[in-house]
């Protein structure tokens, strides 16, 4: 590797060829401020339009200032990052950006968690000079079940566009208009709900301001909790416990399962349950379906199509319905854990507890904002009553805890309630990429081979590469598995399968980077890969610490089948726990 020597602020630096000034500076502890730049290192996610011009530096011999994020180091380069010229330029550009940005920080959804606000503070901006009645670019606001667009707050960093187009290949967002009125929008300025948007929310997760924010449903939950006629129960997805602590100042990857359960109870939920229970149930159903299909396939049934695709991720399902309507019979018909939980709560738990369906309010806490959309799908209602009534994100739960005067850090660790709170380690890892497949393999192996699985941890299924493949030996039968996270990677896999270039028995897809732990309902990762990795590790730790680590060993799941459902894939199970898919190919 060619090495390049340069100096940055008089410090000698040696870097590999192709290193940018920004990266080189970080190597020697010089943190040049950035705004539009984003790099999810190791995940192939980069946004580097060179658009904000905040990271400019002086390079000796260069006519103008250089954007450090987009300028490669060259031999002998002399870089200065804090000269008066640089500081003035940076501050002037920042002032310009702020001059066309609303000043409602105190009541803004991103108050306290805004990169623009932080940068204004870092750069010490104290006034914004402009003429009286200076123009301000304003746009129509757009609300959907999952997210809200307030493009008055857009600073055109293009991160959302990179996520939507390059990473997710959804293509709902792109820059429109010219000059001062430029903004990121849908084609023809449609509402997001009419666009190809799949509600993965990765645009929201990386937005440095509050141009794109989650829809806030906390008010609905508070209202339900205060209603004496309602029984309000809550389910929390596996990834939530790995990120909630960040909202209270804990390091990413700190597990707060016990405190979370305690907080939910103090918020007034009548029962504090766990989506992990439904994840175990998902494995029972999806695993049986997988084995049924593989078995039929191996026995020469040509009507069976493989691979089977996981169906837990609602953004992936939206993406699938839009882009692969010719393969509608291939995803697992198993509902997502959120919806399985809802169906069991409203049809089993309600009856068992003597509560009328309409008096039971099911709230989910999800790392995801597509879940807010998912629960509105017609298939998941019975006579207009939804199986899951309200879905809030991890961040919304944190905000509820704060609003309810609960001192989160001093809470004791508490357990989930029974019966829908019991889960195995297999369910916990649903929250990270590869987890669903690993959980499925743990159960499917034992069912298929009739043997006890000795090795529980499938390291070959773990990791952060966008597309991972592995072959698992089921007692002489090789089961070929593929795992993709981020929809762009899913598209590569799907296109390969469609063309017949790739063939697998089972494919897991999660829309967000790292799986649910990187969801848009979590504290925004804003492109920081180390946060995602820490969250993922914490889920593997929780799995390892669980006494039971295979879904089919969950005693409450076994009891549920015994008391209510009969067998996996039984008629009742089919009715309550399975769904079907629609052709949603976007026609322009």
């Amino acid at each position: 590797m060619d090495k390049i020597k340069l100096t940055i602020d008089n410090k000698p630096v040696e870097v590999a060829k192709g290193t940018t000034i920004l990266q080189a500076a970080r190597q020697v502890g010089i943190k040049i401020p950035t705004l539009c730049y984003m790099n999810l290192e190791g995940m192939g996610v980069e946004n580097r339009p060179g658009a904000c011009r905040i990271c400019v530096v002086e390079v000796e011999g260069r006519r103008n200032l250089a954007p450090s994020c987009a300028t490669d180091c060259t031999e002998g380069m002399v870089v200065r990052t804090t000269t008066p010229k640089v500081l003035n330029a940076r501050r002037t550009v920042m002032e310009l950006i702020l001059s066309n940005h609303p000043k409602d920080c105190l009541v803004c959804a991103s108050n306290g968690d805004c990169e623009l606000q932080d940068l204004a503070a870092t750069l010490g901006i104290r006034e914004i000079r402009m003429v009286e009645n200076a123009a301000f670019s304003t746009y129509r606001k757009d609300y959907s079940f999952s997210l809200k667009r307030d493009m008055d707050k857009c600073i055109i960093c293009r991160r959302c566009e990179s996520m939507c187009n390059d990473v997710q290949t959804v293509g709902a967002l792109g820059a429109i208009n010219r000059g001062f009125t430029s903004v990121v929008a849908t084609a023809f300025e449609q509402n997001l709900s009419d666009s190809p948007c799949v509600f993965c929310g990765q645009c929201v997760a990386v937005c440095p301001t509050a141009a794109l924010t989650r829809t806030d449903d906390t008010g609905k939950v508070f209202k339900a909790l205060a209603d004496p006629t309602k029984t309000v129960i809550v389910q929390t997805a596996p990834a939530v416990r790995a990120a909630l602590g960040e909202e209270f100042g804990l390091e990413p990857g700190t597990l707060v399962t016990g405190k979370m359960a305690a907080a939910l109870r103090r918020l007034g939920f009548d029962k504090v349950f766990d989506t992990d229970f439904a994840a175990d149930l998902t494995i029972m159903e999806e695993g049986s379906e997988l084995l049924g299909r593989i078995g039929g396939f191996l026995n020469g049934d040509t009507s069976i199509k493989l691979p089977i695709f996981t169906s837990c991720c609602p953004a992936w399902i939206n993406f699938f319905e839009q882009n692969y309507p010719d393969m509608l019979d291939q995803p697992s018909s198993a509902k997502s854990p959120q919806q399985m939980f809802g169906a069991i709560a409203k049809n089993y738990f309600a009856k068992k507890s003597g509560i009328k369906r309409e008096d039971l309010v099911v709230v989910s806490v999800m790392p995801c904002i597509a879940k807010k959309y998912e629960l509105t799908r017609n298939e998941f209602s019975s006579d207009g009553n939804r199986d899951v009534d309200i879905s809030i994100s991890t961040a919304e739960l944190a905000s509820m805890i704060k609003m309810a005067n609960i001192d989160f850090m001093s809470l004791p660790d508490e357990d989930f309630d029974h019966p829908l709170g019991e889960s195995t380690g297999a369910a916990v890892i649903f929250g990270t990429t590869g987890g669903v497949m690993e959980a499925a393999v743990r159960t499917a192996y034992e069912v298929f081979t009739g043997k006890t699985l000795e090795r529980l941890e499938f390291k070959e299924l773990r990791g952060f590469e966008g597309i991972r493949t592995a072959s698992v030996d089921f007692n002489g039968t090789a089961i070929n598995i593929c795992i993709a996270h981020q929809l762009g990677n899913a598209r590569k896999v799907m296109d390969g399968i469609r063309k017949g270039e790739l063939s697998f028995h089972a494919v897991e897809v999660m829309a967000c980077p790292g799986g649910c732990i990187g969801g848009a309902g979590q504290p925004y990762h804003k492109g920081n890969a180390s946060i995602l990795k820490a969250r993922s590790q914490s889920l593997y730790r929780e799995d390892a610490a669980k006494p039971l680590r295979k879904s089919h060993e969950n005693p409450y799941i076994l009891k549920l089948y015994e008391e209510f459902l009969g067998q996996p894939m039984s008629e009742l199970a089919h009715h309550l726990l399975h769904t079907h898919y629609f052709d949603k190919h976007h026609k322009i």
Binding site: G50, R53, V56, L65, V131, A135, R178, G179, F180, S182
Partner: protein
Amino acid sequence: MVQIKMHLLVCGGTGCRASESAILVEQFNKHLQLNGLADEVKVVTTGCFGFCEKGPIVKVIPDNTFYTQVKPEDAEEIVKEHVLKGRKVARLLYEDPETLEHISDSKHMEFYQKQVRIALRNCGFIDPENIDEYIVRDGYAALGQVLASDPKETIELLKKSGLRGRGGAGFPTGLKWEIAAGNKADQKYVVCNADEGDPGAFMDRSILEGDPNSIIEAMAICGYCIGATKGLIYIRAEYPLAIRRLEIAIRQAREYGLLGKDILGSGFDFDIQLRLGAGAFVCGEETALISSMQGSRGEPTIKPPFPAQSGYMGKPTNVNNVETYANIPPIILKGWEWFNSIGSEKSKGTKVFALAGKINNVGLIEVPMGTTLREVIFEIGGGIKDGKRFKAVQTGGPSGGCLTEQHLDTPIDYEHLTAAGSMMGSGGMIVMDEDDCMVSVAKFYLDFTVEESCGKCAPCRIGNKRLHETLEQICHGKGTLEDLDYLENLGRVIKDTALCGLGQTSPNPVLSTMQYFKDEYRAHVVDKKCPAGQCKALKRYIIDPTKCIGCTLCARNCPTDAITGDKKVPHVIDQSKCIKCGACYEKCKFGAILIR
């Protein structure tokens, strides 16, 4: 076979067509027919002659008579007098503004005397819709020569010639080709940038309208030299005539085997397609142009990678401007020494300029590099209109700067113009006189860049808007001295930080006018006066009581009832009501309304 004895060359450039030159052609044909001359006299619609001020132009060959401002109804007289009887129609000849003598042959006109036409060599001489006429004037000979030689020789020759990009930045063309040639790829592209967008510029348009084959030939040469088989011309849809003539030329070139497979039996394949742009100024920037051609948003990307490394569809791409290409065939035919002998020390050859503004001879000119601004404005351009005083000249369009009287002896080339605070640009040259307010001029150009900014980078997107608003405020008499500091700082920051050439140069009109006309800015903000009298908001209409006879005409015509007074008593204007429409000034028969 009937021998053609005379040619009537009628300008078919956009300006002359707007003055009915197409109808003139019809009239010529009609009267030639009526007089039985249709077989002996041929009417040819040519490209632009350059002397747009006096269009439509008609040139008679072989006697080189140069008629100006010819109307369709003049056709009959020219046919009957000049064609039939050999008597020139004196009233249509060019009149020298100083000697008032009629000049018959254009080569004696000052407008043409100092010009050297390389890029425009065929404009006004040939029928651009007939490839044969191009071929007769050595067209495609350079291509033939190149195809029979090693591409490296041609690139070397171009490097030695000193030709630099005429799009504005002045990058050495030969070097650009060499870089593109050196990058290995399964497919490469040759792109012609015909997205001319400066206000008042029509150089590229005129070349394409007047001599489209020269571009096709040069692109094929480039293709051979860099190893590309595909060419693309990115041209704005607002140039319908240029597009039509290019389409005709491409079709004819294909028919003649000068485009397509195995050109001239050399085994070299090359073909050209047009890409129509929607008229965005920023798409003249090569990365934005490529982005637009790919169907993406027309906005620049960060360089590197340069197009020569990764351009159209990610393949090595050579992008040159129309005028650059137009220079190439003559350089190959006449040799690098010839080209290198023209021009100044570091800027070789000629440059085409579109002369516009308050100048007598508005038009298209081509002069050797190193010609001074004075020569261009006062000799070729014929000086300032209506005997007014020269005030400034803007070169380089909205990206350039305003130069003043002190710069008139500046040689026009890349180095000198940049040193003076302006730039070569693509060749727009707008002349201003004493009636032009320099703050308004800066505002005018900012208006353009605000409109044309792609919106990608913050300094250009927001900064130019803020510059414009501040200038607007100054023109409205609401400016302060702090505003001047603000303008200067903001202008410099935008120059230092903007992403592409558009943003990096957009503050030039403000900064250069502030540098050379600081007093005028100060007059606006301190005295609240516009010395040129152009800023409406700073005008004050008052009535001179010694001249006003109280006729009431002004009061009756005032739309806001700002003028009061009894009959036969001097009237008064209420300044708080006056909207400065000037109606009173226009109506007053006694010169009693004064503008302060």
